[in-house]
């Protein structure tokens, strides 16, 4: 990928502009470029080339002077991201600078950002699950939010399309509420996970425990290597074994000769032409020089990540759109969602002392949703549902911290694996509430003089009721599976912690109550597409990235076909 054209100044006009190069932006670039469109990808951060720019990918703990600990300066630089517990020296360079990118937490909200080519696709958890009609029909059925303008059948072929190229490993189950993907061979459960699975499935009719479905190659695909089970994914994978824009979609886009990527390009706004009645381009601020530059194209794809996309649209004002591009409904910025996730249980599994495993599997188990699927599983305690992720494994030397022992025998005993531990933690769907919203704060400008975002969002009674049930059920499942020393927990947290922020420019059937139509076009400005998490009308309880990929591929191909018909 050394031949990226980063000297974009020569050419200000393209067929398509894609704002952002993360999971959805990479897909937009690939689909548009492969359909012959000259495409400009605008990335607000630096270039990150696959393999070449993964400086820590081979490091052992002792290769880092401070063994992964951050200095006080770096802790301050990542003061928001630090709250996630996921930042160390090995990945610090893939997290945004929180000091240069302030936002206001009207209520607590952890906003994790990754400002470089590839965005959070380098860092993501890679769990991939299709939404089902249980999800697409949910709003219509219980009246929260507005109806999705699409159903599962509209998206199913596009799920298959992206899965075949991204590479998703998993096991087909035939569950109607968790449709199977086009799968590569599944990863294996370990002894204790197999044991707990059989106990839970025997004790609880209708509950399943499956291996996680993940965007990791278990067979070679398009020149990418298979997972080597190092579990160092978020540093960047030298084998290209997990899906990231850097390893997968951007190289494919680049191979067409139609891709230009411009780093250090902060999109200030989308340019709307009142005469033409459509968008003509975007205005950027060069992050390094603060120079303002305009680029022009027939279509604009907004893939800056949920809240950044909405921030750009809110900042794109004109006589026609005084409150932000496409904001006729007043819903732009509203209906922000995330998943709750730090509620669950853990315990010890007796036995299996002579068993172990080889490899650090970057994946765990999944317990698909089992409540509110139908009349039989309906509860009156809450709407919608939740699933669990988790895993089992043997305790390591870390267990020594709590041991009451010390000394030579203690030290040598820690060289041997400890007891088998197993945990599950729930992920609950969050309802779309109009009052959970973001807005531009024109009194707080960033270092480029741009208005920052204020986030006013909270979990409400339905999410809390689900969390209570997640905890009760988790404990009960582990008890009936025969675990001991069970600890159940509810570490209630602010939204944003799931790093699954969704909504704020939702799709819908009615321009009066939604921002986007069924093909992700801004209702009143059809050559602007939003296909990142901002477009989501409801949140399901499953990880959303796969759905962003499918929606993006679908919208991009629709855009190409509309362009050919001169409809845009």
């Amino acid at each position: 990928m050394a031949n990226f054209n980063i000297d974009a100044k020569k050419d200000m006009t393209y067929d398509a502009i894609v704002i952002g190069s993360g999971i959805s932006g990479g897909w937009a670039a690939k689909e548009l470029c492969e359909n012959g469109l000259k495409t400009l990808v605008l990335e607000r951060g630096r270039l990150v080339e696959h393999v070449k720019d993964y400086p820590t990918m081979m490091d052992d703990p002792w290769d880092s002077e401070l063994r992964g600990s951050l200095t006080p300066e770096l802790k301050e630089k990542h003061k928001v991201g630090m709250r996630s517990g996921f930042i160390g020296m090995d990945t610090e360079h893939f997290h945004a600078n929180d000091l240069e990118n302030p936002y206001t937490e009207v209520k607590p909200f952890m906003w994790v950002r990754a400002h470089q080519m590839g965005g959070r696709s380098i860092l993501w958890g890679k769990q991939c699950y299709r939404f089902s009609d249980l999800d697409f029909e949910a709003n219509a059925k219980d009246g929260y939010g507005v109806d999705w303008p699409i159903r599962y059948n509209d998206l199913a072929p596009w799920y298959t399309h992206v899965e075949k190229y991204a590479g998703i490993s998993g096991e087909a189950m035939g569950l109607p509420h968790l449709p199977d993907s086009h799968f590569l061979p599944a990863m294996e459960l370990n002894c204790v996970e197999k044991h707990v699975k059989s106990r839970i499935e025997k004790e609880f009719q209708g509950r399943h425990m499956i291996i996680g479905r993940v965007a990791h190659l278990t067979e070679p695909l398009n020149g990418r290597g298979v997972c080597q089970y190092r579990n160092r994914c978020s540093r960047g994978c030298p084998y290209g074994a997990y899906f990231s824009s850097n390893a997968v979609t951007l190289p494919a886009a680049n191979a067409t000769g139609n891709l230009t990527i411009r780093p250090y390009s902060i999109v200030q706004s989308v340019i709307y032409d009142e005469q033409k009645g459509k968008a003509t381009g975007v205005r950027i601020i060069d992050a390094e020089t603060s120079e303002v530059v305009e680029y022009y194209a027939k279509i604009i794809f907004c893939n800056a990540s949920t809240l950044s996309t909405t921030q750009i649209l809110l900042n794109s004002t004109s006589d026609r759109f005084p409150n932000g591009l496409g904001n006729d409904s007043g819903e732009l910025g509203h209906n922000l969602m995330d998943h709750t996730y730090r509620v669950g249980a853990m315990g010890i599994v007796d036995g299996f002392e002579d068993e172990y495993y080889k490899g650090r599997r970057p994946n765990g188990i999944y317990i698909p949703r089992y409540v509110n699927l139908d009349e039989k599983t309906k509860t009156d305690k809450f709407l919608r549902g939740f699933g669990y992720q988790g895993s089992g494994g043997r305790a390591g030397w870390g267990a020594g911290s709590n041991s009451e022992d010390f000394g030579g025998d203690f030290k040598d005993s820690l060289m041997k694996p400890g007891p088998w531990e197993f945990f599950i933690t729930g992920f609950a769907e969050c309802l779309p509430y109009h009052e959970n919203h973001v807005y531009l704060d024109k009194n707080n400008l960033d270092k480029w003089g741009q208005p920052t975002l204020a986030i006013d969002c909270e979990f409400k009674e339905n999410e809390k009721a689900m969390n209570r049930q997640i905890r009760i059920d988790a404990k009960e499942m582990l008890e009936r599976a025969g675990l001991k020393d069970i600890v159940d927990f509810d570490n209630e947290h602010e939204p944003g912690f799931g790093i699954h922020e969704m909504g704020t420019a939702r799709m819908g059937r009615d321009p009066k109550t939604s921002v986007l139509n069924a093909t992700n076009q801004v209702h009143a400005c059809k050559n602007v597409f939003v296909t990142d998490g901002a477009c989501m009308t409801s949140s399901s309880c499953v990880n959303p990235s796969l759905t962003y990929m499918a929606l993006t591929a679908r919208a991009a191909n629709h855009a190409v076909s509309e362009l050919k018909k001169n409809n845009l």
């Binding site: 081979m58 052992d60 703990p61 002792w62 002077e65 401070l66 063994r67 600990s69 200095t71 006080p72 802790k75 996630s84 517990g85 996921f86 990863m187 294996e188 370990n190 002894c191 197999k194 997972c227 080597q228 089970y229 190092r230 730090r342 669950g344 853990m346 002392e353 002579d354 068993e355 172990y356 495993y357 080889k358 490899g359 650090r360 599997r361 043997r394 390591g396 030397w397 870390g398 911290s401 709590n402 009451e404 010390f406 000394g407 030579g408 025998d409 203690f410 030290k411 040598d412 820690l414 060289m415 041997k416 694996p417 400890g418 531990e421 945990f423 933690t425 600890v487 927990f489 570490n491």
Partner: protein
């Protein structure tokens, strides 16, 4: 003499950190000296002596290297110097001073000068008096974590410094940086010790 240099040479010769008996007694004699053999970045000399004695009591040398053999004390000094903010550094220093003051009140000596038996007695008492870490899920502790206090946090740091050192990680735990495959259920005897990564 510099016992750490000597030890490094032995490790090179033997292919492990096990010391030959003659060298072992030589090291013991070095240990009797009261002069600090390294220059701390953060600790005072007294505090450095405390840290070394603490590390040595928690993880003494057996037929595998001890905490001092892999320089856990020197590493902790580095970590505290470079990753703690001034307030946390001040807190660490005063906790050590307090710990020493308490042993001095009970035994008439600071921790590093106590007999092995008295050191163990002091740590046993600390074990009984401190809260434990809550379990963690994906990097964050679950439930309501009570402060674990100086003793257990330091013990935890000592284990971290020791088990993530190159010598232990590569030569004593089971080291496999690129497993290449995942096998979910194999006999422990095929692996031996805990995986280091």
């Amino acid at each position: 003499m510099n016992r750490r240099n000597a030890l490094r040479k032995t490790a090179l010769m033997a292919g492990s950190a096990m010391a030959a008996p003659s060298l072992f007694s030589l090291l013991q004699s070095c240990k009797q000296q009261n002069r600090l053999e390294w220059e701390p970045l953060f600790f005072s000399e007294d505090q450095a002596r405390f840290i070394s004695a603490f590390v040595d009591t928690i993880l003494p040398r057996t037929d595998t290297p001890g905490g001092l053999d892999v320089k856990t004390d020197i590493f902790l000094d580095l970590v505290i110097a470079k990753t703690y903010d001034p307030k946390a550094q001040q807190n660490m220093a005063s906790e050590i001073d307090k710990f020493n003051a308490e042993t001095k009140a009970s035994f008439g000596k600071v921790f590093a000068e106590l007999s092995e038996e008295d050191k163990k007695a002091v740590l046993k008492k600390a074990e009984a008096e401190t809260a434990k870490f809550n379990p963690k899920v994906w990097g964050t502790a679950v439930g309501d974590q009570k402060p674990v206090g100086f003793y257990r946090s330091l013990k935890s740091m000592v284990l971290w410094g020791y088990f993530t050192s190159e010598e232990i990680g590569k030569n004593h735990l089971s080291y496999d940086p690129i497993p290449g495959e995942f096998r979910g259920c194999i006999p422990l005897s095929e692996v031996g010790n805990t995986w280091s990564l």
